[in-house]
Amino acid sequence: MTSVPPDPSWRIGRRAPNVHAYDAVTGRTRFTDDLSFPGMLHARLVRSPHAHARIVAIDAREALALPGVHAVITGRDMPVRYGIIPWTQDEYPLAVDKALFVGDPVACVAAVDEATAARAAALVRVTWEVLPHVLDPADALAPGAPQLHEETKHGNVTKSVQLSFGDVDAALAASDVVVEGEYFFGGSTHAAIEPHCAIGLWEPQGLLTVISCTQVAHYLHRELSRVLGLPHSRIRVIQPPIGGAFGGKSEPLDLEFCVAKLAMLTGRPVKLLYTREEVFYAHRGRHPMQMRFRVGATKDGRLTGCDAKTLIDGGAYASFGLVTTYYSGQLVTAPLRLAAYRLDSTRVYTNKPACGPKRGHGSVQPRFAFEVTVDRLAEQLRIDPIDLRRRNVLEAGERTINEFLIKSIGFRECLDRVEAASGWKEKFGKLPFGRGVGVAGSFYISGTNYPIYPNPMPQSAVQIKVDRSGRVTVFSGASEMGQGVDSMLAMVACEELGVELESVRVVSGDTDLTPVDLGGYSSRTTMMAGNACLYAARDIAARIREIVAREWGCPPKQVVLAGGFATDREDTSRRLEIGEAFQLAEGKIGTLGAVGHYNTPKDVHGEYRGGTIGASPAYSFTAHVAEVVVDPDTGMVNVESIWVAHDAGKPLNPMIVEGQMEGSAYMGFAEAILEEHIFHDDGLHRGPSLLEYRLPTSLDTPELRSLLVHTADPEGPYGAKEAGEGPLHPSIPAIANAIHDAVGVRIDSLPFSAAKILRAMRGPRGTAPPGR
């Protein structure tokens, strides 16, 4: 584009360290629990020991009498329902009438230190009327089942969605092959290594500050205002760096309301840090789903129709469940073209910790079911499963059967890359018995097209301040939680303003200091905050170029800001250090600042009810090949390698994108093989610790090989799309399909435990195929 190609080492798309990495390696990152304030009190929650029980009375006198205890609050102190989805607000910060799961909080104590608060919490006497409880979603639908929420119209149903596109029955009837499968995806949880923590601060003039490791400072801001009855303008939410989240910190939770209320009551700072056990009960993780998928194809491997029916176990509260219910059906319609599709998804309340969004919200489970069903089709059709997928890939510019517009798609190349890198052609169906490879693909949204509550305002905004010192400051409400959003913003600012990465400071996650951003969820940040930053930076860069051009007497387009200089592209010997260019501009037009915002295009989805959920400005695509070794004597699976090819559009920082791909593949592997979020009959969690829940260690984790596939998305900043959630989806079905290639059995429920595999191998249908 220019006769002065800037040094590529300066350009967007280069590998660059995370801007927070130096803080991380020196221990200087200040997470929420690393903060303390003079006179700070510590809070502990009192939680229900019953899965379903009415609160008859709460007596806090003994707790309050304990020296060092400053306050005890109960549900009656904040009797306002809230919830992340405006139409399904069904929880209180502390239960008011009933506890709906073991661990549901009913009271909160503030004391001088954690130990005193814990002792006082044990002294809060709750009189319970224990009610019958229900843990299984099918039981919860049965007539006479205990009803969790008395106000709901449809028994224990949170949401039920039926959508149909084309004539599925006719399509399946006309198919040469139809495969039907029943699948079960057990729940899983996020298990970020940082436990949730929040601090409440109250200033006597009526200003509340809540510091929290939330992914959604803006939604927390709104809900604090509603529940506490304070105007938005009197509330500040600060989100320090987050020690991992993965969706587990993406809605307001009890602790944030409690520290706020307790700070307001006591006038002192109040901190609440969950124990690890409490993190498991706070949950909001992946929904267990019971899925029946029927998929048809013609002899030549063209997919005809897909019929999906899904029962979703929601746990005690709605959380994001309305959206989850749609996602469980809406996000299987690419990258493979379906001629007809029907979905029937129902989410049900049960007396367990509420499920919510975990990385790949709502769509990881059906992706497992769909990709395994496609693998079975390939087997029946005697077509290589990569080839079968290739025959059905959507094209750029095409709409999915449920009318989502695909503007860019690199899925074909994803398949090519994993096929070549894994040595697929030499391995599939050819490895010795016990060793196998499997493939799967997926797509994912780069942000949701619409905010959680309807409003016409921007989804993301950025302010940029350009300083005469040569420094650029980016103010962003986006939530940094390790995924690299601050680095992304800094790199965008560098690219447009020509400064060094070290000259950019990103101020983020503070509702008083930064413009709004709806939060770190649905893989929206690069698309939305990235574009907002791009627009702001281009605005200010244009003004600076114009001033420099006027000084040089040339057209503004002749001035390039890159590599630390403003340079005349026609005469590269004429240049100014970038700081001098900033000073020149400031001298001519005054203080330099700009704003940018992003809102989504509205023509990317259908007009039917629910057509907006799953709609996104851009979609990422992923293919995985997994290679496994199954010990035929024990059934133990060792996942040796996962090749991950991901179309993230243009990767703005390949090192960070790879990190997202590897972390995603790891997390999918973990769900496939090790992790179980399961409960005893009385509603008690079976293993609420990282050891028992079984997080993978460095020894368990496969070798993860990232393969970046470039496309240029017309909507994303510089063509970029998401990378944080899409690459998780294919891990699980790729491993399932590899197990089949290795030992000839299909394991249709998660996790793929040794016992299940052994049982399948010894069963009548699991007889190992001869000759392998």
Binding site: A21, A192, I242, G244, G482, G659, M667, L691, S698
Partner: protein, 168 residues
């Protein structure tokens, strides 16, 4: 808990080269002493029961889980935390490698990872990838899938004079 149990116990230890004298409650853990009494918040607490490794520090050169070690048991020991890893303004090669290789994402496990890796490289200057995996298997990371952490430790092992001396 009775008041008698809470009687304070005097301890004396070396933390990051500094002599530290404190009187602690007997149930105080080393991580609590470091974080909440000495203000060394670089050491993180992820589970408080020895599962995650985020609280790993070196005690007389050996990696220990400071959440399951009582402060009174650290009496007389030399403790190193992540805050001591850099040599003045110069980062340890391990720290540089973690930055350069993208081994940090959220950064919460990073201090514990670094301390475990530091002990490994002191004992085994050129470990195999498998040895690195074994050494780090007590430190959980939820973000990276470990790949870039392993890459970083291997890269740091390739740096000559790994920062334990001032030699160039």
């Amino acid at each position: 808990m009775t008041e008698a149990v809470r009687a304070l116990v005097p301890i004396s230890l070396t933390v990051n080269g500094d002599r530290v004298r404190r009187a602690v409650e007997p149930q105080t853990t080393l991580v609590e002493l470091l974080r909440y009494q000495l203000g060394l918040t670089g050491t993180k607490q992820g589970c408080d029961k020895g599962d995650c490794g985020a609280c790993t520090v070196l005690a007389d050169g050996r990696p220990v889980l400071s959440c399951v070690m009582l402060a009174v048991d650290a009496d007389g020991l030399t403790i190193e935390t992540v805050e001591s890893l850099a040599h003045g303004p110069t980062l340890d090669p391990l720290q540089e490698a973690f930055v350069e290789h993208g081994a940090t994402q959220c950064g919460f496990c990073t201090p514990g990872m670094l301390m475990t890796a530091k002990a490994l490289l002191r004992d085994t200057p050129t470990p195999t990838r498998e040895e690195v995996k074994v050494a780090l298997s007590g430190n959980l990371c939820r973000c990276t899938g470990y790949t870039k952490i392993l890459d970083a430790v291997e890269a740091a092992a390739r740096v000559p004079c790994r920062g334990d001396s001032k030699a160039p």
